[in-house]
C-alpha cells in the first residue's frame, strides 16, 4: 500500500509539473499573439525590416493611444506559411498584412480572404495596380538598384549591362528568389525586359545566388560581394551606419510595390482600417521616405541624401508588369533562374 502511495506521489509530481509547465506556456503566448483572439489587439504581419515597421507602429500608437497594436515581422514566405496554417485551424490571428510579395496578394484575393477596403486617402496615392479593386493597396514603392562596394568598384554602374564588365566578375550577387519576394519580382521584371539571355551572361560573368535580400547587401558592405541587386532601404540604412556602399539606379527601374491588406473577418475591423489609413497618410509615408524607400504619395519629401527618384518618375521609368500574367509562372521562373545561375 505504502509503495502505491509513493508511486502515486511520483505520478502526481509529474502531472503537477506538466500542468505548471502548461501554465507557464500560454502566458508567454498571450503576451505576443494570443491576445489577437480576444479582439482588442490589432495584429500586423509584415515583411518590412524592424527599423521601418517599428517607427510606423510607434507613430500609430501615438496617434491612437487606445488601440493596442502588435506586429510580427518575418520573411514573406514564413508569414504565408503561418497564415496557411491559421486558415486551416479556422482563424487568422493577423488583422493586417503588409509584405512585398505582390503575387501572394493576388493569390489571397483569389482565395477570398481579403477585405475590400478603399481608404478615404486613396485619391492622394500613386497606384501601381491597373486592376485595383480595394483588396489591397500599395503602401510603399520598393525600388531595387545595384549596390556597389565603393572600395572595390570605383566607377558606379549606369546600365544593367555594366554588370557584365570584368570588374564584377565572380562578385555580383542576387538574393535567392525562393527566399526573397522582392528578389523574385525583380528577376521576373528583368527577365521580361532583357530575357533569359541577360541572366546567362550574368552567369558567364560569375554572378552568384546569395541568401536573403538583406544578406547580399551585407555581403556587399563587407566586400564579400563587390555589387548586388539591392533593396533601397536595406542598403540606405547600412550606408547611414557608415557602410562603404552606394546605390545606383540604371534607367530601367525595378519598382516592387508593397501592398497592405486587411483580412476578411478581422475582429478589429475598425482599428485595422485606421491602421491602413494611417499607413497611407502623409505622416506615415514621411516615415517610409525617411527609411530610404519610396512613399506612395507625391506630397512627401524624400531626404536628398538617398538619391532616390521621385515616386512619379519611378512609376514612369519602371519596367511595366502584368501581375496576373506572371503569377502562375512563379515557380517556373525561380527554377529557370536557379538552373541558369547555378550551372557549373
Amino acid at each position: 500500500m505504502k509503495k502505491n502511495g509513493l508511486i502515486l506521489l511520483l505520478v502526481m509530481a509529474i502531472c503537477s509539473v506538466i500542468f505548471a509547465g502548461c501554465g507557464g506556456g500560454p502566458k508567454q503566448q498571450s503576451s505576443s499573439s494570443g491576445a489577437g483572439a480576444k479582439g482588442n489587439k490589432l495584429v500586423v504581419y509584415t515583411s518590412m525590416k524592424e527599423s521601418l515597421i517599428s517607427s510606423i507602429v510607434e507613430g500609430f500608437k501615438k496617434k491612437y493611444p487606445d488601440i493596442d497594436v502588435d506586429y510580427q515581422s518575418a520573411g514573406a514566405g514564413k508569414l504565408m506559411a503561418k497564415i496557411a496554417a491559421e486558415r486551416q485551424s479556422g482563424h487568422i490571428l493577423a488583422d493586417v498584412i503588409w509584405t512585398s510579395e505582390v503575387p501572394d496578394f493576388y493569390q489571397m484575393k483569389k482565395d477570398g480572404i481579403l477585405e475590400i477596403y478603399k481608404s478615404p486617402v486613396l485619391k492622394d496615392l500613386i497606384n501601381p495596380f491597373d486592376d485595383y479593386d480595394g483588396s489591397f493597396t500599395a503602401a510603399r514603392l520598393g525600388t531595387l538598384g545595384i549596390a556597389i562596394n565603393t572600395d572595390k568598384i570605383k566607377e558606379p554602374p549606369t546600365q544593367w549591362s555594366d554588370l557584365l564588365k570584368p570588374e564584377y566578375k565572380g562578385a555580383f550577387g542576387i538574393a535567392d528568389p525562393a527566399l526573397s519576394g522582392t528578389s523574385y519580382m525583380s528577376i521576373a521584371l528583368l527577365q521580361q525586359k532583357f530575357g533569359w539571355d541577360f541572366f546567362q551572361q550574368l552567369h558567364d560573368n560569375g554572378a552568384r545566388i546569395g541568401k536573403g535580400s538583406g544578406q547580399v547587401v551585407d555581403d556587399t558592405s563587407s566586400s564579400e560581394l563587390f555589387a548586388s541587386l539591392a533593396v533601397d532601404y536595406i542598403t540606405n540604412s547600412k550606408i547611414g551606419k557608415g557602410a562603404h556602399m552606394q546605390l545606383c539606379y540604371p534607367p530601367e527601374l525595378l519598382v516592387v510595390p508593397s501592398p497592405v491588406a486587411i483580412f476578411k473577418g478581422s475582429s478589429n475591423m475598425d482599428a485595422a482600417q485606421k491602421f491602413v489609413d494611417y499607413l497611407l497618410s502623409q505622416e506615415a509615408q514621411a516615415l517610409v521616405a525617411q527609411q530610404g524607400t519610396l512613399p506612395v504619395r507625391s506630397d512627401v519629401d524624400i531626404p536628398a541624401k538617398f538619391h532616390l527618384p521621385s515616386p512619379a518618375d519611378a512609376m514612369k521609368n519602371a519596367i511595366k508588369v502584368n501581375y496576373t500574367e506572371i503569377l502562375p509562372q512563379k515557380e517556373a521562373t525561380i527554377k529557370q533562374f536557379t538552373d541558369i545561375l547555378s550551372k557549373k
Binding site: M1, K2, K3, N4, G5, L6, I7, L10, V11, I14, V17, I18, A20, G21, G24, G25, Q28, Q29, S32, K49, S54, Q72, S73, A74, G75, G77, K78, L79, M80, A81, K82, A84, A85, E86, Q88, S89, N149, A171, A178, L179, I209, G210, K211, G212, S213, G214, Q215, V216, D218, D219, S221, S222, S223, E224, I234, K238, K241, G242, A243, H244
Partner: protein, 563 residues
C-alpha cells in the same frame, strides 16, 4: 491481505509502466513511425519505387552524397585530432595538462553554428578577415582558404566535434592497465612495438565508438552546413529538408521528400548505433579495467615545449579567436567597417536586450522553453528510468527499446515527425505555436534524462532500501530519505543537460518556428540570413555569455552535489 496488497501494487506498477510507454510512444515513437509511413505509403498503397525515385532526383542524391562526404571528412579529421590530443594529455609529460584537457572540452558547450558564423567572418573568400589580411599585407593575390567548401565545412565541424573522440580515448587511456605495457617493455619490446601491439588495439574500440558518434552527429548536422554550405550550393540532408519545408509553406510534396530523406537518416543512424554497440561490446574492452591506475608517461624531451605551444596555438586559433571575432563584430556599427575605436560600441547589445522585439522574444522563448522542457523531461525521465532499472514488470522490454529510440533519432527527423504528428491530422494542431517546439524538445532530450537518471538509479542498491525497511521505515520514508537524495544529483544533472543545450538549440526549432516563436538559435540564424550580421553576432555573443554562465552554475552545483 497479503494477496490483495500484491495485486494492487501490481496494478499501480502496470499504470506506471503504461504511462511510461505512453509518453515514449506519443512523444518519440509515433512521430518517427509517421515519417516512415509517409515515406513509403502514398495514396493508401505501399510505394517503395516512389521513395527511390525521390532519392534519385539529382538534388536529393547530391544532398545524400554531400552528407556522406562531409561526415567522412569530419569523422577522419576529428578522430586524428581527438586521439592525438587525448594521447598528449594522458600519456605524456606535456606541461599544464589539466588546463589543456579542460580547454579541449570547451568546444562541447559552444554551439557549432555560432562557430561557423565566426569562421565565415574570418575566412569567407573576399571579406574574411584572415583572407583580407593575407591579400592586403602579405601580397597574396587570392584568398588563402575558402570556408564555403567541403573542406571548410568539415574543418569547422572537426573543431566542434572532436571532443567526442577526445573524451572516449582519454577515458580509455586513463583506465588502461599499465602492467600490460610494462610487461611488454620488460620482454624487450620497443616503444613502437608497444604502441602498435598493445596500446592501439586496447584503445581502438574507444576511438571507433567516438568516431561513429561523430559520423552520426555530422550526417545529421544542420548549423554548420546551413551557414557555410548553402551559399555555395552545398546542401546536406538536414539543410535540404529545411529548405524544402521552408519554401513549400507545408505542401505535401516537400514533406514527402523530407520524410524520404529523414528515413535515410534514421536508417544510417540505426546502422551506426548498431556498429557502435558491436564495437563497444567486443572483448578487447574488458582488459581496460574500472580501477584507476597511474599510467606511465612518455617523456617528450625536446618536443615538450613545441608541443605545448602547438596546443596553446590550437586553443587560441579554434576557441579564442572565433569568440573574440563574434564579440568584435557584434560591436561594429555595420558589417564591413574596420575595427577602429570609432566604429565599435555597445549599441547593438543594448538594442538586442532592450529594444529589439525579435531578440527579446527569442531570449524569453528559449529560456522558458528550455526550462519547461527540462523540468518535464527530468520527471518523465526519472519515472521511466525507475521502471527500467528498478521495477520488475512484464513488458519492460518494450520500454527498454523505446528508451533507446531518442538516442538514435536525429533532431531534424524529430522536427519533421512532430510536424506530421501535431499539425492537425490527428485532431491536435500545434503547428506554428510554441507547443510544437516544446514537444520536439522533450522528444529530443529524453535520451539525456534517461541516461542521467538511470545511471543515478543504478547506483542505488536495493539493499539500502531493504535495510531501511528492516529498520522499520515505511516504503515512503525510505524512498524519501534514501532513494530520492541519492537520485537527486542525477535529476539535477538531467535538468542541466537539457536546459543548457536547449538554450542554443537550432536544428529542431529552425524547422518549427513561427514569427512569434523564434528561439535564440533561430534568431541568430535568421538575422544572419537577413544580412543583419552585426546584430546576429551580438546576439551570438550574448548567447555565449548565457551558456558560459550556465555552465559555471552547473559546475558549481554538480560539485556541491558530489557528481
Amino acid at each position: 491481505m497479503s494477496s490483495i496488497k500484491t495485486k494492487s501494487s501490481f496494478g499501480v506498477a502496470q499504470v506506471i509502466l503504461f504511462l511510461s510507454i505512453a509518453i515514449l510512444v506519443i512523444v518519440v515513437a509515433f512521430p518517427v513511425l509517421l515519417i516512415l509511413f509517409n515515406a513509403f505509403w502514398v495514396n493508401d498503397e505501399f510505394n517503395f519505387a516512389g521513395a527511390l525515385e525521390i532519392i534519385k532526383e539529382p538534388q536529393t542524391f547530391q544532398a545524400l552524397k554531400n552528407s556522406l562526404i562531409i561526415a567522412t571528412g569530419t569523422t577522419i579529421g576529428s578522430t586524428i585530432v581527438g586521439t592525438f590530443f587525448a594521447w598528449l594529455v594522458t600519456r605524456t609529460d606535456l606541461p599544464h595538462k589539466t588546463f589543456m584537457k579542460s580547454m579541449f572540452l570547451v568546444p562541447f558547450m559552444l554551439p557549432s553554428f555560432i562557430g561557423a558564423l565566426a569562421w565565415k567572418m574570418l575566412l569567407s573568400p573576399n571579406a574574411g578577415f584572415i583572407n583580407q589580411f593575407f591579400i592586403q599585407h602579405l601580397g597574396f593575390t587570392g584568398p588563402i582558404f575558402n570556408i564555403y567548401s567541403y573542406i571548410g565545412i568539415s574543418t569547422v565541424e572537426v573543431m566542434y566535434l572532436f571532443p567526442f573522440v577526445f573524451i572516449q580515448v582519454c577515458g580509455a587511456l586513463e583506465r588502461m592497465d599499465p602492467t600490460l605495457e610494462e610487461s611488454a617493455r620488460i620482454s624487450g619490446a620497443g616503444l613502437f612495438t608497444i604502441t602498435r601491439k598493445i596500446t592501439i588495439p586496447l584503445v581502438m574500440p574507444s576511438i571507433l565508438s567516438g568516431a561513429l558518434l561523430i559520423m552520426l552527429y555530422s550526417m545529421a548536422h544542420f548549423g554548420t552546413v546551413a551557414v557555410l554550405g548553402i551559399e555555395n550550393g552545398i546542401y546536406n540532408i538536414p539543410t535540404l529538408i529545411y529548405e524544402r519545408i521552408h519554401q513549400s509553406g507545408g505542401s505535401f510534396d516537400a514533406i514527402r521528400t523530407g520524410t524520404v530523406l529523414a528515413t535515410v537518416l534514421v536508417i544510417s543512424a540505426a546502422i551506426i548505433i548498431y556498429a557502435q554497440r558491436k564495437i563497444l561490446g567486443s572483448g578487447h574492452y574488458q582488459i581496460i579495467g574500472g580501477k584507476s591506475f597511474r599510467p606511465m608517461e612518455l617523456k617528450l624531451r625536446g618536443l615538450r615545449m613545441p608541443l605545448m605551444i602547438f596546443c596553446l596555438a590550437y586553443i587560441a586559433f579554434t576557441i579564442v579567436l572565433p569568440t573574440v571575432v563574434i564579440f568584435l563584430v557584434g560591436s561594429l556599427k555595420t558589417y564591413g567597417l574596420a575595427f577602429t575605436f570609432d566604429n565599435l560600441s555597445l549599441d547593438n547589445y543594448k538594442f538586442i536586450l532592450f529594444d529589439y522585439k525579435v531578440t527579446r522574444d527569442a531570449i524569453f522563448n528559449s529560456v522558458t522553453l528550455g526550462f519547461t522542457a527540462a523540468i518535464i523531461t527530468m520527471f518523465a525521465g526519472v519515472m521511466i528510468s525507475y521502471v527500467i532499472v528498478k521495477m520488475k514488470v512484464r513488458g519492460k522490454g518494450i520500454l527498454e527499446f523505446l528508451g533507446m529510440l531518442p538516442f538514435s533519432v536525429p533532431g531534424s527527423v524529430i522536427a519533421l515527425g512532430v510536424i506530421l504528428a501535431w499539425s492537425g491530422q490527428f485532431g491536435i494542431n500545434l503547428y506554428n505555436t510554441v507547443w510544437i517546439i516544446l514537444v520536439a524538445y522533450i522528444a529530443r532530450y529524453m535520451a539525456f534524462s534517461l541516461k542521467a537518471n538511470s545511471a543515478a538509479l543504478e547506483q542505488v542498491h536495493d539493499s539500502l532500501v531493504e535495510a531501511s525497511r528492516a529498520c522499520g521505515a515505511t516504503m515512503w520514508q525510505s524512498l524519501r530519505d534514501i532513494v530520492l537524495p541519492l537520485v537527486r544529483p542525477g535529476m539535477l544533472a538531467a535538468f542541466f543537460l537539457i536546459f543548457l543545450p536547449s538554450l542554443r538549440e537550432l536544428t529542431v526549432s529552425i524547422m518549427l518556428y513561427a514569427p512569434t516563436t523564434r528561439t535564440i538559435g533561430v534568431a541568430i540564424y535568421t538575422l544572419n540570413e537577413d544580412g543583419e550580421t552585426v546584430i546576429s553576432a551580438a546576439l551570438a555573443g550574448i548567447a555565449l555569455i548565457i551558456i558560459i554562465l550556465g555552465q559555471s552554475v552547473i559546475n558549481h552545483f554538480t560539485k556541491k552535489a558530489g557528481v
